[in-house]
């Protein structure tokens, strides 16, 4: 069984988590052009890499960040948003 570490609840089966997509900076909605907004809404860096992603532990509703290698599925780190300086 594949396990993932929730920063609050510890190691749990990956089935308990939901993927929320890559962390991408949002341009200011009121100021950016339609083109910039479309780029934010639709386009991605789709190639395999180590990516920062949003994940949610469904049972407890905790949203957090995972750094994951999207070609090997290796989860490198998980931490709460804003706590990325605190290495494990």
């Amino acid at each position: 069984m594949k396990l993932m570490r929730c920063p609050v609840n510890g190691w749990r089966p990956v089935q308990e988590f939901s993927y929320g997509g890559t962390v991408r900076p949002m341009p200011p909605p009121g100021e950016c052009s339609d083109r910039q907004w479309a780029d934010y809404v639709f386009h991605r860096s789709g190639a395999a890499a180590v990516k920062k992603e949003w994940w949610c532990h469904l049972a407890s509703g905790v949203w957090f960040i995972a750094e994951r290698n999207t070609s090997t599925d290796e989860i490198l780190r998980t931490y709460l948003y804003g706590e990325d300086d605190h290495h494990e």
């Binding site: 479309a38 789709g46 395999a48 070609s71």
Partner: protein
């Protein structure tokens, strides 16, 4: 081994027939280079040579012919989509499939089965009625049917699903079919090769050279090749190729898994899909049940298989066909699906002159192989998108002009 047989095998008078030539050297220049020897790339090469007289074409494949989704799909062919753009496009593909065996002189085992998408809820029934109306309007044989018709066409199905989620009706699409996916790739490959196209396996494109906004050639693990026209037909590998030229796409790659059972006597001649149970099944001509489910839930560029997938699938299969409890799974595998936000493909020109894109094939691209080959060949040859693919242009995302097919493509690939 009898000596006579050995002598026959070694004799030059009876060489082993080859499906296509394997030239040992790349030429320094081609009129067009196609990246990816999947069905789409090979079909495009074939129609370029056959319909447009462009024969100095190389198809470059990093692995072996059909290594991608082409050799991994569950071979369902249908045209009962949700949007007019989608229905027209896929229906043209179905038409091309009908005489493709004769055209390619190879038995593709094209087999018309009738395709049922079961509805277990009112919400699903509503989308199906909508689809049926769009389909009928565009001349596609498709209708909403009640449980009686399903019982008649597939008496083995437990319509009550063990009392858990009873089947209320289905979208019935009589022309729904399956075919031998490998044969489609091999047939196009052979026919293209016979018309002068070169297929180079073990040849990976590692870069695309652009000069003044125009394609100048491709870098490969076997050296540089000059060309003014490049078609990227690499499905699940598209983001990596487009990032070579800095073109952004909305593609997100997820694995899609499938499995087959041990061979059984023929008993299932329809294709059964249940969106609510996330499951589809058909029986191949050699008796195996070919089964699949929804996409894996997160981005991953790996063709690994999981126990989770077969477990979930088996559970749902038994709700529909409880008598399969003792049947064993023979093999399971996965392929990469390049998913678009609107479940429609991305086809046509790109911001780089001379670079053409055929991608966004997600979980639904096998059925489109012939029409993709035809329309992309036209687009390459004339430098203008074929009318059937204009709605699928990459720039639709910048224009907020999407072609929403999710209701027709999310589970029933």
């Amino acid at each position: 081994m009898p000596f006579g047989l050995l002598r026959f095998g070694m004799s030059r008078r009876y060489p082993e027939p080859r499906m296509f030539r394997c030239p040992d050297r790349l030429k320094p220049h081609y009129d067009a280079v196609i990246i990816g020897a999947g069905g789409h790339g090979l079909a495009a090469a074939y129609y370029l040579a056959r319909d447009h007289g462009i024969r100095e074409v190389a198809v470059l494949e990093k692995s072996y012919l059909g290594a991608g989704g082409t050799g991994r799909n569950t071979a369902i062919i249908r045209s009962n989509y949700l949007t007019a753009e989608g229905v027209r496009f896929y229906d043209e593909s179905l038409r091309l499939f009908h005489d493709l065996s004769a055209d390619l002189d190879l038995n593709l085992f094209y087999s018309r089965r009738g395709h049922f998408t079961l509805a277990h809820s009112d919400a699903t029934l509503r989308t199906m009625r909508w689809r049926a109306e769009v389909n009928k309007h565009l001349g596609v044989d498709s209708e909403l049917v009640g449980p009686e018709v399903i019982r008649r066409e597939c008496p083995q199905l437990d319509l009550s699903c063990g009392g858990h989620t009873p089947v209320l009706g289905a979208l019935y699409h009589p022309p729904g079919a399956i075919a031998r996916h490998d044969a489609v790739a091999w047939g196009y490959g052979r026919a293209a090769s016979q018309r002068g196209v070169e297929i180079h396996q073990q040849t990976e494109v590692t870069g695309i050279r652009v000069q003044g906004g125009q394609v100048a050639g491709v870098e490969t693990n076997r050296g540089f090749v000059e060309t003014g026209k490049v078609l990227s037909a690499v499905a699940g590998y598209t983001p990596a190729v487009m990032e070579m030229v800095g073109v952004r796409t909305p593609l997100e790659v997820h694995p899609l898994q499938a499995c087959v059972s041990e061979p059984l006597k023929p008993w299932l001649d329809t294709i059964i899909v249940s969106a609510n149970l996330h499951l589809y099944v058909s029986q191949s001509s050699r008796g195996e049940l070919v089964m699949g489910a929804a996409l894996d839930p997160y981005e991953l560029h790996s063709t690994r298989s999981t126990l989770d997938f077969v477990e979930g699938l088996a559970g749902h299969l038994l709700e529909l066909f409880p008598f399969l409890g003792q049947v064993r799974v023979l093999r399971q595998w996965a392929g990469l699906a390049d998913m678009t936000p609107d479940f429609s493909p991305i086809m046509g020109k790109t911001p780089v002159e001379g670079l053409y894109l055929d991608a966004g094939w997600g979980t639904w691209g096998f059925k489109a192989t012939p029409v993709c080959g035809k329309t992309m060949a036209h687009t390459l040859a004339t430098d203008r998108p074929h009318p059937l693919i204009v709605p699928f242009r990459l720039s639709r995302f910048d224009e907020f002009d999407l072609v929403g097919e999710k209701g027709a493509a999310s589970v029933g690939h």
